[in-house]
Point group: C2
Chain length 327, copies 2
C-alpha cells in the first residue's frame, strides 16, 4: 500500500555548527543556561566567537541532522531549508547532498548569512548552543513543494522553527499539505526555552496535526508546568498517536495505543559531546518506523544511533550507521 | 642567556582542512597517491569536493599545526602566513589566535580565496591531501617582520612553501634574518613529492641554513635516491646539527653530535586519521628543545603529541596537551 518513495521529508533550520571545548567558567561568565539553545544576533555571534577556543565546523541543524542519520541508515530522504549563497551555505549543502539527501531549496540571494550555531562543549560532554539564525528566516511558503511532501511517508519538522515567523508559516503550510496527502507528521519539541516561548501553539498543533512526537523529559515538563510526570505522559498520549520521550542515560519511553514501552540507553565508553543525541535518536526511530520495525525496536535503533553520535564532536555521524540496524 | 621571548616563530601556508572519510576506491578512481600531498587548482577543488562525502572543516597548514601544538603545550609562539579576507580566512585566524598564537600578517585584500586542503581519510587511517593553495601565494617578503624573528629562539619553516615562488622568497628572507639575529632555523621536508620537485634547493639550504631538520623516512629517501638508508642518515647528520627522522609506528631516530637516539612510537588504540602526525611530532620536539629537555626526551614528547592527534579527525589537538609533558 505504501508507495510513497521518500521515507522522510524534513523541514528545518539549515545551520553550520561551530564547536569548541570550553570550561564551565565560560558558560557561567557568559550567563548561558547549560544544555539549552539561545538565539543570538550577528554582533553577539562575533563577540562570543572571539571568546571561544579553537573550533571545528560541522554541518548541523536539528532536522537536517536527523535526515543525515536516516540517509546513513539507508533511507530515502529530502530536506527543505534555507542557506545563503556563501561558503557556509555551500558546506551545508555539500554535506547533506553528499549523503544522498535530496535538497533543492534554492539558496537565498539576499538577506543574512547562512546560520551558524556556536556550541560550547563542557567537560561533562554537555553542549550549550548559541544560534545566529541568519538566512533560515528567508524560508517562505513558496519554498514548500507540495509534490515533494505528497511523496513522503513522513514529514518531519522541528520546534526551533517556531521562533521565526516566515519559517513557521512555511512549516504550517507543509502540515496542511501532509494532512491532505496522507503523509504522517512527526515533530520535535527541540528545546525547553523553545517550548516556553510557544507553549500554547505547540499544544494546539500536538492536538491537531502531530502524529509522532519526539521530546526529552525537560521539554515535556515545560509543556505542562503544572502537572507531575505521570500526568504529563497521560496528557501526551492523549494528543498524539506515538510519543517518544528521551531521558538521557535513562533511555527513552515510547507511548502508543495506550501502551508504554521503556527502552534502555546504549552505554558508551566516553561521552565526548552530546550535540545531536536527540536528532539521531529520531533518525534511528524513524528509520525503524518506516521499515516495519516494532516500536520498541524503533526505540532501540534510536538509542544506538544516539550513542554513536555522542562519542565524537559534532552532530553528524562520521561513519556508516548501517551496522546498527543488524545489531 | 636566552632572552628571546618567543620559543618558536613559524612561517607557513595558512590552510583550512576539509576532511572526509573515503574508501580506497575513490583514491584509485581519482588517481591519487595515498599518503601524499597534491597541488590542485580551484576547478579541480570544486570537482573533487563534489565527489567527497560529508566533511568537517578544521584549521590546518603544516607549520600552523605545529604552532597550535606548541601553544597547547604552553609555548609562546607567532605565525606568519596569508589568508584571504573571507569566511575560511576568519576561521583560520580565529583558531590560531584563540590558542594564544600571535598572528598579525594582514589578510589579502585581492587575489584568490583562502587555501583549503581536501583530505581523504581511508579506513587504514592514512590521509591523502589535495591542496588548493589560494591566498598562500600572496605572502610577500614585505610580510616578514625582522623584529619578530629577532625575538624568536627558533624560526620554523615548511618545505611546502617551496612550491610558491613568492612564499619561498619570503621564507628565504626570514632565513637570512634568523642567521643575522642568532635565531636557530628548523625546517620540515613536508612531503615526498615536494622533495622531488625541489631536491637541489633543499640540499643547498640543508647545508647552508637549517639547524634542525624534521623529515619522515620516505622524504629522506627522496632526498638521496641513490643512497641506502644508513648512508642517507650519514649524509643528513653531516648537513644539520640535529635531524629527527620519523618512521610512523616504528618511532623516530634523532641524529645529533655524531650520536643516534632511537625513540619508540607511543601506541594508540585506534588510528582514526594520521593528518598532522608529523606536525605534532615537531611541536612536541620543539617544545622540549626550547624548554631544556634532552634530545631523547624531546623525541618522546614528539611521539606523545603525534599519538594524541591521530586518534581523531583533523590535525589540531582537541584538548590540552600539557598532561603529556608530565608523562
Amino acid at each position: 500500500m505504501n508507495e510513497k518513495p521518500y521515507h522522510v521529508v524534513a523541514i528545518g533550520n539549515a545551520i553550520v555548527d561551530v564547536l569548541a571545548f570550553a570550561d564551565d567558567t565560560l558558560i557561567v561568565a557568559e550567563a548561558m543556561k547549560k544544555g539549552t539553545m539561545c538565539l543570538i544576533d550577528e554582533a553577539r555571534a562575533e563577540a562570543l566567537y572571539a571568546k571561544m577556543g579553537p573550533s571545528i565546523e560541522v554541518s548541523g541543524g536539528s532536522a537536517a541532522n536527523t535526515l543525515a542519520g536516516l540517509a546513513l541508515l539507508g533511507a530515502k530522504t529530502a530536506f527543505i531549508g534555507k542557506v545563503y549563497k556563501d561558503e557556509l551555505g555551500k558546506i551545508f549543502r555539500h554535506d547533506l547532498t553528499a549523503l544522498g539527501v535530496d535538497f533543492s531549496t534554492p539558496s537565498a540571494e539576499q538577506g543574512k548569512a547562512t546560520a551558524r550555531c556556536l556550541i560550547l562543549v563542557t567537560p561533562d560532554g554537555q553542549r550549550t548552543m548559541n544560534t545566529f539564525i541568519g538566512a533560515c528566516n528567508e524560508l517562505y511558503e513558496a519554498d514548500i513543494d507540495e509534490s515533494l511532501i505528497a511523496k513522503a511517508r513522513i514529514l518531519y519538522g522541528e520546534g526551533y522553527m517556531w521562533d521565526q515567523e516566515c519559517a513557521k508559516a512555511a512549516l504550517k503550510k507543509a502540515f496542511r499539505i501532509a494532512k491532505k496527502q496522507g503523509t504522517k507528521i512527526a515533530f520535535t519539541l527541540s528545546d525547553v526555552f523553545c517550548v516556553e516561548r510557544s507553549r500554547a501553539e505547540f499544544l494546539t498543533i500536538l492536538r491537531e496535526d502531530i502524529d509522532i512526537l519526539f521530546c526529552n523529559e525537560a521539554e515535556a515538563r515545560a509543556l505542562f508546568p503544572d502537572k507531575d510526570f505521570p500526568a504529563i505522559l497521560d496528557a501526551l498520549e492523549d494528543m498524539c498517536d506515538i510519543v517518544a520521550v528521551t531521558m538521557s542515560e535513562r533511555g527513552s519511553m515510547i507511548l502508543a495505543g495506550g501502551k508504554r514501552f521503556p527502552v534502555a540507553a546504549v552505554p558508551v565508553k566516553e561521552v565526548v559531546d552530546t550535540t545531536g543525541a536527540g536528532d539521531l535518536y529520531a533518525a534511528g526511530f524513524l528509520y525503524g518506523f518506516t521499515h516495519g520495525l516494532l516500536l520498541p525496536e524503533c526505540g532501540r535503533l534510536g538509542s544506538a544511533c544516539a550513542a554513536d553520535v555522542i562519542t565524537h564532536l559534532g552532530a553528524r555521524a562520521q561513519k556508516s550507521l548501517k551496522r546498527l540496524i543488524a545489531a
